[in-house]
Amino acid sequence: MSTDPDPDLLRLAEAVSDVKSVDWEEASGAHPALAATLEGLQGLEAVAEAFRSASTEAAKSGLDRLPVWGRLQVLKLIGRGAFGEVYRARDPLLDREVALKLRVPTFDDDEASNRRALDEGRRLARVRHPNVLIVHGADIDRGRVGIWTELVDGPNMREIVAERGALDPEEAVVSAVALCRALKAVHGADLVHGDVKASNVFRGADGRIVLGDFGAASELDSSGFLSGSPVSLSPERLRGAAAEPSCDLYSLGVLLYFLLSARYPVEGEDIGAILERHEGLGPVPLGERRSGLPACLTDLVDRAVATNPALRFSTAAEFENALEKLSVGGAEMRRHSKAAERKIERRSLGTWSGILAVAAMVVVAVVFFGRTFLSPAATQPLVADARLVLDAAEGPVVLEDGAVISPGDRLFLEIEARAPVHVYVANEDETGAIFTLFPVPGLDLGNPIPAGLHRLPGAIDGAVNDWQVTSAGGIETFLVMAAPGPVAELEQRLAAWTSASSDREVSYSQDSGPTLRGVGSLTAALPAANEGARLAELQQELSDFASKDGALWSQRFVLRSVDEP
């Protein structure tokens, strides 16, 4: 047997492997000495073909489908969010397709938390309204809580506005009336949606407006923390108030504003900028965004998005009544609304069916899921767990305070966030020099990190990275901080630290895969007594800051870095 096969043989083998047709007669004519091997290759072509057709048949008969959950056959992952994954699934008992949202299990999952999630699902299932996504059921299977709902075929309002621009007033009002009715039902069941926005409202192929929650951006968790796009949230909510029905009404006002102008009443880069605008000039009047709208309509929308909650509608019914009475003669507006309703139906059959066909009938799964709906319960810490781990060759070792690390050791932080959080990790060495370990430019993971379990520093270009200890030097202190939003004060300091440490700038070691900058690369001659005093001070300062301005979670790890004996 040749160790270095004939190049022609290799090419033919490659053709077999790549399912390209080969003229075997010609090949054996050209290489009579290789006839036997060529015959073998031809046989392999047949073997490969046999496996391929068996596999194709299996795929056709549905044998390659995904596993089951409960009685549902899980067909396809169609969405992933902070708190769960949404699958298209089939209910064989009722012979229908459903959307199945499986809650992402967390470390602190126990019977009680599963029970709570189930209870939420069951409460959702009690909301029966044509404009609210139908929840079929909630259950737990092999430790995973799931909720299954109807599947809505159709675009969401954000997609509709992106496609067509701002809507006609009549069409926008009809949608808003439907959503008022949806919210009446939701609030009537003692629930708060908490995430009313254009991408959570769908228009089914039949023109039905459905309030749902895709779950891809659950902005709230049970402790009321929020992240993501805050333009739809009321200012009091942004300041940390509990989610209440009035917050949903504000969000609905923002949605109506958006449908009419493709803009938001208060825009800003982050929560701080949005609140600043609320406290300063206030929302931009709708009439300034889009001229030619009837004054009664712009007045109504401006009222719905007023900064002062006392000026807004207090119930969904009040909001609905105001919409219905719109225009000079209320009857006329209603007539227009009816016309718009018919128009929507025609569009859904005409234009939209075309668009949907092009989009290969993207099935939109919409799920109300757990925490979004709950008014904030007892305050839970932002971070369920954070552990500094030594990535040792024989397996990970959790580092307790006082643990000893040595040059060459690779460390990572395992952090489990209950909600999307901004995480900051800093390291102080024996000399009191502080270095920013996270966030660092170039990492695949940045702030805010989604809820769930993460390994920091995370990956660079897809390769998992650790922090590496590059020298011995006494005490190494690590401070991990997490906040629901960006902490400007902290970010300024982190930036300063990073630049102050340019002599130890972020570096990558290629010997055992990429690593982040060294931890404790200075060998200090100080006695081992200086326990990260500056970080301890910072932690204290920030906790003062946190107590007056919302939640901030922090944890300190103190390790000893020594040369290996």
């Binding site: 073997v47 390659d64 995904l66 092999r142 390769a463």
Partner: protein, 198 residues
């Protein structure tokens, strides 16, 4: 991109290793992810490899799933040196436990009529397509190949894996390197098949 392909491979191996680690820790999500990753391909593969009677049982696919679940339950006892080893282990144990399960089902009372069908040496789909001689020659020659070549051939020929997947599993730097490995393995296999043919 720095070390693009190598990094990618590393990260994926890491992710399977990490999934296994989490499965050992009793994390049901990690189990589900592993099942979602391997079940469809194992099912398709079993479809070609199992005797017809087994294939025609309405719940053959469930047998594969049960077997996979069982394998994952025993995963504590398995520490893979690389992802390829885990895949090979999975394939072997799933196949064995599907066979065991079929035997067990056959022994159940009231299954006499089925029993005959099950134990009859009915050819698998692949065997029917290429004939017993060819399949035996292929399998014998395959078993003579070095481990890496064997894996490369099984992944490409039997599972229809992409070169990228093969590269990740075998720890090859690029998809092209994996393709080279497959081609070399196929040439050696072709030579070997010739020796094993009557």
């Amino acid at each position: 991109m720095r070390n693009g392909t190598i990094s990618g491979a590393e990260s994926d191996i890491e992710s399977t290793a990490r999934l296994l680690e989490r499965v050992r820790g009793g994390d049901p999500a990690a189990r589900n992810d592993l099942v979602a990753r391997y079940l469809p391909m194992l099912r398709r593969w079993s479809h070609g490899r199992l005797p017809r009677a087994a294939r025609d049982m309405a719940d053959t696919d469930d047998l594969v799933q049960v077997a996979l679940m069982r394998t994952l339950n025993k995963v504590e006892s398995f520490v893979p040196r690389h992802e390829g080893a885990f895949f090979a282990y999975l394939r072997m144990t799933v196949l064995n436990s599907v066979r065991d399960e079929l035997r067990r089902v056959n022994r159940r009372p009231g299954r006499e009529s089925l029993d005959r069908d099950m134990t009859a040496p009915e050819p698998s789909m692949v065997e029917r397509a290429i004939g017993r001689e060819m399949l035996e020659a292929y399998e014998k020659a395959l078993s003579d190949l070095p481990e890496e070549h064997k894996e490369a051939v099984i992944m490409r020929v039997e599972f229809g894996c992409t070169y990228r997947e093969i590269a990740e599993t075998l720890g090859k730097p690029t998809a092209n390197a994996a393709r080279m490995t497959v081609s070399r393995a196929l040439v050696r296999l072709a030579e070997g098949m010739n020796e094993h043919r009557p």
